[in-house]
């Protein structure tokens, strides 16, 4: 220690004080609020899962553990059928919208063209529009189209799963575009230049350099499209007919009338399914 420092240290011994932290911006109350918020978000989920195992047939009290509701669920043909349909619709609409959306994203990020702003506007509209407006629009459109079809060919079409798939693709494309565009924006074009320099043509460059690097973005977009389709209720409600049984609509009907813990069971399963899907996609992305 320097001479000056030691001489000054004897001026007054410092009182030991409790650790005085840094200038706080309300850290404690922020943390409390956050904890309350997370509880708020998860208590209903926890209740849902826990009460899928209760004996109580109304699912509001805990009267003992049972797996009955799960077994009954798997025996419930209607619900299982609806679940299958929903998965089928989600799968198909995800594949198509991801492909279409990725192509559009590539076009928007790599090319300049007139009408770019108009395209942007058109793409953002499905994201900001209230779902019910889109649902009634599609309902009206399908009725109109079917009538037109009948006038022309004499054949009657009815709304079915394909109708729902078409609708889901229509609103998913925009979301895929947004996600893939972000991925493309972060893509370093010099990598493509390097590939070209090394002799790769456009096709090879795309598949061996660009595509693997934007794949996380594409997967993210696909995941979003899948989730949106799986969870979609309003459009499914408006477009479903006698032949189409979709899970969210079945759940809606059950919730409005007679509720049994089978609902809890299926939602627990759906939650597990969604979570594992995301975990899987993260694992795949990490390996790349």
């Amino acid at each position: 220690m320097s001479a000056e420092a030691t001489s000054q240290a004897t001026v007054r011994p410092a009182k030991p004080t409790v650790e005085r932290g840094r200038l706080s911006w309300g850290g404690f109350s922020l943390t409390t609020h956050a904890v309350v918020m997370y509880l708020f978000l998860y208590v209903p989920i926890a209740i849902l899962v826990i009460f899928s195992f209760t004996r109580d047939e109304f699912g509001v009290r805990w009267t003992g553990f049972t797996l009955d509701w799960y077994t009954r669920l798997f025996a419930n043909e209607r619900l299982m059928g609806a679940a299958g349909n929903t998965l089928y619709v989600a799968f198909v609409s995800t594949v198509v919208s991801t492909i279409l959306g990725t192509l559009v994203a590539l076009a928007l990020e790599r090319y300049r063209f007139r009408g770019r702003n108009a395209t942007d506007a058109l793409l953002y509209l499905p994201i900001v529009i209230p779902e019910i407006v889109m649902a009634v629009a599609l309902l009206a459109f399908s009725a109109f189209a079917f009538e037109l079809f009948q006038r022309i060919t004499g054949q009657t079409l009815r709304r079915n799963l394909t109708t729902v798939i078409i609708a889901h693709i229509a609103f998913s494309i925009s979301f895929v575009v947004v996600v893939v565009r972000t991925s493309l924006k972060n893509f370093d074009l010099r990598l493509e230049e390097a590939a070209a320099d090394l002799g790769a043509n456009a096709w090879n460059t795309f598949w061996r350099v660009t595509f693997p690097l934007i794949l996380p973005g594409i997967i993210g977009g696909a995941l979003l499209a899948f989730t949106l389709s799986l969870d979609d209720f309003i459009i499914s409600l408006f477009l479903s007919g006698p032949g189409t049984s979709l899970l969210p609509v079945e759940v809606y009907n059950k919730v409005r009338r007679a509720v049994t813990p089978e609902i809890n069971a299926i939602s627990t399963l759906m939650l597990l399914f969604s979570i594992s899907l995301v975990v899987l996609s993260q694992a795949v992305q990490r390996r790349n």
């Binding site: 320097s2 420092a5 410092a14």
Partner: protein, 367 residues
């Protein structure tokens, strides 16, 4: 009762977990002085500054501003202002609004704010920039806005946290002189944090050299440079040569050490030493004279036989690296006071030489 001390730190400690960022620091900074805290990254200088500003509270110890204890007073209630390293100008406000901010917080009348802002801008030579936005201005200009924004509040002390760090060399030197001049004119105590020792030496009235949370030495630039009290300060400020040895005799202010090779070297002792203690001789490259063997006159000085190894011609001076022994080389700087193209006038590698060092030019340091 402030007895001329603008800031007083008494045994201040700041702990982050197990780490002592500031380790029992005591300082007295006088009114009106330009005081610098100098040291390498992580030495605690910025943390100390932040505690004076109020962004951190000391774990223990006291901080007083003009005699008033303020260790745990929140920053917005302290009569000090800070110029941040990143300037921290509010991007959504104009220059004038930025500068006026502190006055608005004090609820000064609107009619008075306008002229004072103008005056502050004039003071930092930014007249006419009032309506600009920070992002439209260069780094040097932004720094001056930050300065104006702080000074307009007439703080008792101005704190500057490496304000010139982001600027290029030329601009830095310009602004160093400007800041020094400004401080003289305004008369406020400036506390300046930097890791650039040249900057500290140029601008300061006094410097505190810090390392690992401790203050190693406080003094004027001359004191710090000519009479460092420990090896770290001798090495951190400027350049120096170290030769290790053991103390064999000592007197009032001097001591003689003997090296492993049997060389006896004499130098000033800033601290008392004991016979047999391990010590190091510190001698700066410009303070030693170099002669060809036979030419050396060594009255009241010690000599070192060496061999020239490397010669760097810088233009204004020649920097020579000489070898003392297989383990140790020394640096010698000579000003080229003669102008000649004759090769023999300059040192050549491989030449033998003798270093002559007056005892007043060397220090014997024990830590």
């Amino acid at each position: 009762m402030s007895d001329g001390n603008a800031i007083e730190l008494r045994d201040v400690v700041k702990q982050f977990g197990d780490v002592y960022a500031v380790d029992h620091v005591s300082l007295r900074i006088r009114d009106g002085e330009f005081f610098s805290m100098l040291g390498p990254s992580g030495c605690g200088k910025t943390t100390t500054l932040r505690m004076i500003a109020g962004f951190e509270y000391p774990t223990s110890g006291e901080i007083s501003i003009h005699g008033r204890e303020m260790s745990t007073t929140p920053p917005h209630q302290r009569p000090v202002n800070t110029v941040f390293q990143s300037y921290a100008l509010f991007p959504h406000m104009t220059v004038a609004q930025n500068v006026a901010f502190g006055l608005e917080m004090k609820r000064i009348a609107k009619s008075e704010i306008g002229p004072r802002v103008q005056e502050a801008l004039d003071q930092v030579r930014l007249t006419g920039f009032a309506e600009r936005r920070p992002r439209q201005m260069s780094g040097g200009q932004q720094q001056r806005v930050a300065l104006a924004r702080a000074l307009v509040n007439s703080p008792e002390v101005l704190l500057l946290d490496e304000p010139l760090g982001a600027l290029d060399q030329k601009l830095r030197k310009e602004l160093q002189l400007e800041l020094k001049g400004l401080q003289r004119r305004v008369g406020i105590t400036f506390i300046f944090v930097t890791h650039d020792q040249e900057e500290a030496l140029t601008m300061s009235d006094r410097i505190a050299v810090m390392s690992q949370g401790k203050v190693l030495q406080v003094g004027s630039p001359t004191e710090i440079y000519e009479r460092p009290t420990c090896k770290f300060v001798a090495d951190f400020i400027g350049e120096t040569n170290f030769i290790d040895g053991t103390v064999i005799e000592h007197g009032d202010n001097y001591a003689t050490i003997e090296t492993a090779d049997g060389l006896k070297l004499r130098g000033i002792t800033p601290r008392p030493v004991a016979i047999g203690e391990a010590a190091t001789l510190s001698i700066r490259p410009e303070k030693v004279r170099m002669f060809a063997p036979g030419d050396a006159k060594a009255e009241h000085a010690f000599t070192l036989p060496v061999k020239v190894e490397l010669v760097s011609y810088i233009g204004s001076d020649t920097r020579v690296t000489v070898r003392l022994n297989p383990q140790r080389t020394l640096d010698v700087w000579e000003q080229n006071t003669f102008s000649t193209l004759d090769r023999d006038a300059y040192w050549q590698p491989g030449e033998p030489a003798v270093l002559v060092c007056p005892p007043d030019n060397a220090l014997v340091l024990t830590e």
